[in-house]
């Protein structure tokens, strides 16, 4: 009897935990924003210009990076800043923002707020992130008065608001099936208890068999059995703890750059990756850097889920398992797996036979 209570408690706990975890979105801020200059002096009716340096320090691609003015009122972004459609992993971009100060703006310092929004995805799961940065503006007094004592903001640094605004964050996570499943599980335990007190066992078995058959059939209909197979068949090195996913951009040393530039023979690389692999963007970014340094280094990215036959042909499949990221140099019978020390390992691979 106590076992039943335990099971009920556990199921209820499981359901509660899943529901409680709903607001704990997996999202993180993957972009950093730096505003230059720290403080802008501008006359009423004029435009202030600030340059925003946006850096993506993650392995994920940021999409639709947009800047908007969120206060105080009267100020306008004119012309509207350009939208950055795609910011690649470890990529960076510069954005010019013109802020039109209203004609009737009183002289003095104003701290305005620029809000940046962007989206990024992990698999089917996409997040929209909002992040605010303060802009310090010093509105000059009308010209006929002459430059007056500038009202000095407390510090020369642009204060950042530090935290994202919770109200503005939204995660497009498909949580409803989880909540329904947790509810059904709790319901099943309650129903089982009632059925048991009535001395009936078949309703419980009916529910469980229905859930089993239904789950399997619906899962197969959604193609989840194929998904399960492909998740297990393609192994990304950072997924099971063979190495850590990189949180930095690839960094070639000056010496490595010289050695790459010195390569005189054409080299062809195949970079095998999977779309959901966390360590792959690092390998891709590194090969792109190398390709930019020396035009003789040609490369192609191969998605192992779309083109498994290429992975098979080049031996990236190890004992029936595809391991990504993997770099193959055509004509060289050695594969670079993973991203650890990849800079130096790749340079050695490029120099082989030279």
């Amino acid at each position: 009897m106590s076992g039943w209570r335990n099971a009920a408690a556990v199921l209820a706990l499981l359901g509660l935990a899943v529901v409680a975890a709903l607001p704990v979105a997996a999202q993180e801020k993957i972009l950093s924003f730096a505003i230059e200059p720290a403080q802008v002096e501008v006359g009423a009716g004029e435009r202030a210009t600030v340059a925003v340096r946006i850096e993506n320090a993650s392995v994920r691609e940021a999409d639709n990076v947009v800047a908007a003015w969120t206060g105080p009122g009267g100020f306008l972004l004119d012309p509207a800043p350009q939208e950055i459609a795609v910011l690649a992993p470890f990529g960076s971009a510069d954005l010019a923002v013109w802020i039109l100060v209203p004609e009737d703006a009183p002289p003095g310092s104003v701290v305005g707020s620029l809000e940046f929004s962007y989206t990024y995805c992990i698999g089917d799961l996409c997040f929209q992130v909002f992040e605010s940065r303060d802009v310090a503006l010093v509105v000059r007094a009308p010209a006929d008065v002459g430059p007056t004592e500038p009202t000095v903001p407390p510090s020369g640094q642009v204060p950042t608001s530090g935290q994202t605004q919770p109200s503005g964050r939204s995660a497009t996570r498909a949580w409803i099936p989880y909540a329904v499943a947790a509810f059904v599980a709790v319901l099943a335990v309650v129903a089982a208890q009632i059925a048991r007190s009535l001395g009936l066992r078949w309703p419980l078995y009916a529910v469980l068999l229905l859930a089993t058959g239904g789950g399997l059939a619906y899962g197969v209909a959604l193609g989840q059995h194929e998904q399960a197979q492909s998740i297990a068949a393609v192994l990304c090195t950072s997924c099971v703890g063979i190495e850590e996913a990189a949180a930095r951009a690839p960094q070639l040393t000056a010496q490595e750059m010289t050695r790459i530039r010195a390569i005189s023979e054409p080299v062809d690389l195949l970079v095998f990756h999977a779309p959901w692999c966390r360590s792959c963007p690092f390998a891709e970014a590194l090969v792109e850097q190398v390709g930019a340094l020396n035009a003789r280094v040609g490369y192609r990215f191969v998605d192992v889920e779309r083109e498994p036959e290429i992975a098979r042909r080049y031996g990236v499949i190890q004992s029936g398992r595809t391991v990504v990221p993997a770099i193959v140099r055509l004509g060289v019978d050695r594969i670079l797996f993973g991203i650890e020390d990849l800079e130096s390992r790749l340079v050695l691979l490029l120099e082989e036979g030279a």
Partner: protein, 255 residues
Amino acid sequence: MRLSIWRRITQGGGVLLGLLGVTGIGMTHILFPGLHCYACPWAITVCPVGLLQNMIVFGTFPFFGVGAILAYGLAAGRGFCGWFCPFGTLNDLLSFRKRRIRKAPSYGKYVVLVGTLVGAWALADTAFCKLCPAGSLESSIPYLILGVARVNRPFLVHMATLGATVVGMVLVARFWCRYLCPMGGILSLFNRVSLLHLRWSQATCTECGACEKACPMGIEPHHDHDDHNCIKCGACVDACSPGSLTLHCSPRRRG
């Protein structure tokens, strides 16, 4: 024939299924009814705990995974832990001291289970896999030998969890299965409804306590033969001289 001999045979079958990929068979769609790393170079089956985590990370409800786990649960509940799971087999093999701890709280596995699922949700990562001792044994070490992995921090973390688990297994019978295994936690929810089950006959039981002494999971089969920790291994059945405890794989009788 004693149940323990049959059990060694099916446990051997579990290990064989776990390593069948050595023949060149690729990954199948089948979920493994136990804790067996699918990153193992010779695995041909999908680890249920890994699949659940990945599906949660992708933001998809794992209908297929839950359906398959329900099917295994209804068939044998934790019977798979006792009769099939390779990591459970390792627990058995390492239990040199045969020490039994009774009445020790064993809810740790539910904490690990909930932590695994919530962790996958909150971190958008297969966090449990990076600590999983089965993964250490079946994936980290083989990949080190194959030259894909290197000795680095994640590898050392894996070795630390494996080492701690092995010490636990040597000191306490079925340490991992009893206290920490998330897969055991899932299967234990089905222990009272599974086809594979223990029956106990009050009429012949002499309350001698031999079943308690034999049980690797530290439960008292003559008091609760459907305990959530019961792995249906049959050690108590073999130990019961009056034959009051029997193992059946059939629809349950009422009551």
